[in-house]
């Protein structure tokens, strides 16, 4: 079980949920379960979402493992210049 914090537009898409406990070993599993439990998140997961694991931001790494006590934060995927 990891505790996932949702922010900004991601939280809004999940119907205002801010913290979710999910059993997931890696980012892929996390995304799958999120989309299952919060259909509003599906388009975001599909089109781009970033996962901060202990402060380091990952964008496309499904295989990235989620350590048990890690701090997981979901963020929108950003545009850069």
């Amino acid at each position: 079980m990891v505790a996932v914090t949702l922010w900004g537009s991601v939280a809004a898409a999940a119907g205002g949920a801010e913290t979710i406990d999910i059993e997931a070993k890696d980012i892929r599993e996390l995304f799958g379960k999120l989309a299952e439990q919060y259909p509003g998140l599906e388009p975001l997961v599909e089109n781009g979402i970033a996962v901060a694991i202990d402060g380091v931001i990952y964008r496309d790494s499904w295989s990235k493992e989620l350590p048990r006590d890690a701090e997981i934060v979901l963020l929108p995927r950003l545009a850069g210049g």
């Binding site: 914090t5 922010w7 900004g8 537009s9 939280a11 809004a12 898409a13 119907g15 205002g16 089109n47 901060a52 202990d54 402060g55 380091v56 931001i57 990952y58 964008r59 496309d60 790494s61 990235k64 701090e71 934060v73 963020l75 929108p76 950003l78 545009a79 850069g80 210049g81």
Partner: protein
């Protein structure tokens, strides 16, 4: 690729030196080929007809006369770009922006296009296209657009992110919120509260090279696109999707790029050029005029931001709150959201909340501009922090140091920070001689901080070793400011060979795997990671080849200092083999030697900067002269310090232009008044002083060399640093960017009037 996350201080031979860039001679002799410098046999000239109205229903387009003009080979409208987006709202917006469908949403919106045998014929043909518009009420101002009485830019947009879902459409496309703690309680604990509203006007990236491309679609479904872009792989996907082409059959070559700064991360004319070529059956060259660049590419947001900050009398901030309204043009974006994320990112705050509102207006679609959205938020917050310092009676640098974020701080946008550079940049500024230099009459000094995330992303690199031991490095991130030099240095470092033996090139979409675009300051960060990985793979191959040459087990071969060395004494006195030696033997030891790498470069470290600026104001005219400017920024590790400094200086210069003179000026009729370099005033050489830089190197633990992105952060602090300097010089808080002479003179008069 998994690197050792424990970063150890390293000594470098190549990285950190300042050699001449590999594309340099071509660029000083005029040989480098940019977007408009390429031609194809049988090529036609494309031209786009644009809406003169800010908002209008397109009732009818009659292209018959244009089609009949001799020399015209194709005329297209939105019907030639059918909607293939399959419910993808973001792609639909891109399509609609490339060619208006039903409604023209801003002055400059494309409504039709022609391809003809020459420019003169194409221009004549445009005049023969008759468009019947029904002009609709428009709104171009961000504050006007959020009023309930404002004309609706899109009839079917309901503010997202609000619960319950609104029942009426609105120009506020989306609301997003960030923060933690209890802001109300925090303000309750404050001894001093500052509160102010700020505005910034819309600016353009102002790259010198207008958008340009040559498109060629064949009847067999294959196509080629030559284009100036920050991301040819992304352009390929967007263009293929919009035109219904197979992704892998569209070969996109990125030309040299004459500046992008985010503005060349979006497709504008490219799908139009491809559609023209498809219809005409010939290659089509399409080049924007400067006027088109201003009217119809993507500037940054105009903003309106309210900030409230509370602190105890010792300077500790107890609460911070911001509401940020960012114009998006006619389509939903995430510009206010990024503003909301970055606004308070420099500080360690117990109670913080920022709310972003994406505001639709009848202006061109907002595009990314260097650390998009962060400079405006920083302007508002850093101005308020300076006000707070004044009220608390503290030195502004000391107040910032007291509240600065550090390793372990929960950022205002969510995650907890690793090792970061905000504290060190502030301390460097505090010690910098610039801070203590004397000031004269009518002069003022300001400083401010800035933050940017930096990205990583998908990256693919090939490293090929030639038979003579020289190396070609093929990367897929477009070189916007010298990254080929930096990446050649990294390859040289890793292989242990001289820089001169490496040549980096940008590969096209058919010869290298997918790469995300050069945005988010990722070019050197991501591609250096992939280059290191590719070099290590090549070294593994070279060790095998050396083993074969020596006829010893590969486990007995070490790689050291650019040479294969036989380990231990049992192999006698085998002399080390250089890359050259191994390459020369390659035909006999197994063929070509190469290293490849495909990875997602994650872990781009966040970046911080602090800038100092001195200005002098002419109290009779309101003119501002920038006397001195200093940039202090964390680079993680500066691979090629010249180009790191260049990024710092360039970002500061763009910020100076934004702060003082640059702005989109719209008339009552909703038309852009200043679509040219004469009246859209970017800084000229005589406007600026030398820009001093100080590179700090706080290694990014997620990169093997400690590299962080450096390209964008440098544009974040200038608006605020200059606003603070001007405010100090004139004795009035300046809250409206740009601080053009009429605004400064009006502020001075307001002060006199009391």
């Amino acid at each position: 690729m998994n690197f050792d996350a424990r970063y150890a201080a390293q000594s470098f031979k190549s990285v950190g030196t300042r050699p001449i860039r590999p594309d340099g001679v071509d660029k000083v002799t005029g040989r480098a080929r940019y977007g408009a410098d390429f031609n194809m046999p049988g090529q036609l000239v494309g031209c786009i007809l644009r809406s003169p109205h800010a908002h209008a229903k397109i009732e009818k387009i009659d292209t018959s006369k244009a089609e009949k003009l001799k020399g015209v080979k194709a005329v297209i409208t939105a019907t030639d770009l059918p909607d293939l987006t399959n419910g993808d709202a973001a792609m639909y917006d891109i399509l609609d922006n490339c060619m208006a469908r039903g409604k023209a949403l801003y002055d400059g919106h494309a409504v039709a296009a022609v391809a003809a045998i020459d420019a003169r014929t194409a221009r004549q043909a445009l005049k023969l296209i008759k468009v019947r518009y029904k002009v609709l009420p428009h709104v171009t101002d961000v504050d006007e657009a959020v009023k309930p009485s404002a004309p609706l830019v899109q009839n079917d947009v309901f503010t997202a992110g609000v619960d319950p879902r609104p029942t009426k459409p609105s120009n506020i496309a989306r609301r997003s919120q960030y923060g933690h703690g209890d802001v109300d309680a925090g303000f309750g604990k404050a001894d001093i509260i500052v509160e102010c509203s700020y505005r910034t006007e819309q600016t353009h990236q102002g790259y010198i090279e207008p958008h340009a491309c040559v498109a060629s679609v064949n009847s067999d479904g294959t196509a080629e696109l030559w284009v100036c872009t920050q991301g040819h792989f992304v352009f390929r996907q967007h263009c293929a999707g919009l035109l219904g082409l197979d992704v892998s059959k569209l070969r996109v070559t990125s030309s040299e790029i004459g500046g992008g700064f985010g503005g060349k991360t979006h497709v504008w004319i490219e799908p139009v050029a491809l559609a023209l070529s498809r219809k005409a059956g010939r290659p089509v060259k399409l080049v924007m005029s400067r006027e088109e660049v201003f009217r119809a590419s993507g500037p940054t947001s105009a903003t309106s931001i309210d900030v409230r900050i509370g602190a105890r009398s010792d300077g500790t901030i107890t609460a911070a709150l911001a509401t940020l309204r960012y114009s998006c043009g006619p389509y939903d974006g995430m510009w206010a959201e990024i503003g909301a994320m970055t606004a308070f990112a420099c500080y360690d705050l117990e109670n913080v909340r920022s709310v972003g509102q994406e505001v639709l207006v009848n202006r061109p679609k907002t595009a990314a501009y260097r650390a998009p959205s962060a400079p405006m938020a920083a302007f508002a917050v850093e101005s308020a922090i300076d006000e707070l310092a004044g009220k608390v009676g503290m030195d502004p640098v000391a107040l910032r140091i007291k509240n600065a974020a550090k390793e372990g701080t929960r950022s205002s946008y969510g995650p907890v920070y690793g090792p970061i550079g905000i504290g060190p940049t502030l301390e460097a500024v505090q010690k910098h001689p610039h801070m203590n230099a004397p000031l004269g009459r009518n002069q003022g000094r300001g400083m401010a901080c800035g933050f940017w995330f930096n990205f990583g992303g998908q990256t693919c690199t090939d490293l090929n070793i030639g038979v003579d031991g020289t190396v070609t490095l093929a990367v897929g991130t477009v070189d916007v400011g010298g990254s080929r030099a930096s990446l050649s240095l990294v390859a040289a470092e890793e292989l242990g060979i001289p820089y001169e033996q490496v040549k980096a090139v940008i590969a096209d979409t058919s010869t290298l795997g997918y790469n995300d675009m050069t945005d988010g300051s990722r070019g050197t960060f991501s591609s250096s990671m992939a280059t290191i990985s590719a070099a290590r793979n090549a070294i593994a191959v070279m060790k095998e080849r050396a083993a074969r040459m020596w006829d010893i087990p590969v486990k007995d071969v070490d790689w050291e200092d650019g040479h294969a060395r036989a380990r231990g004494k049992k192999h006698g006195n085998l002399p080390p083999l250089s890359v050259k030696d191994i390459a020369a033997a390659a035909p006999k030891t197994g063929g070509p030697i190469a290293g490849h790498s495909e990875l997602v470069a994650d872990g781009a470290g966040v970046s911080f900067a602090t800038h100092i600026c001195d200005v002098e104001i002419d109290p009779e005219t309101g003119a501002t002269k920038v006397l001195r400017y200093t940039v202090v920024q964390d680079a993680g590790k500066a691979v090629h310090p010249d180009y790191v400094e260049g990024q710092y200086q360039g970002g500061a210069a763009q910020g100076i232009g934004w702060a003082l003179n640059e702005e989109y000026i719209y008339g009552e009729d909703g038309r852009l008044q200043n679509p040219g370099f004469l009246d859209y005033r970017i800084p000229v050489c005589s406007d600026l002083p030398m820009i001093d830089t100080q590179i700090l190197e706080i290694p990014n633990p997620n990169h093997p060399y400690g590299v962080r992105g450096v390209g964008e952060t440098s544009i974040v602090p200038p608006l605020a640093a200059i606003a603070n300097a001007v405010s100090n010089a004139v004795g009035v808080r300046m809250t409206h960017i740009p601080m053009s002479p009429p605004r400064i003179l009006a502020a001075l008069d307001g002060k006199k009037a009391g």
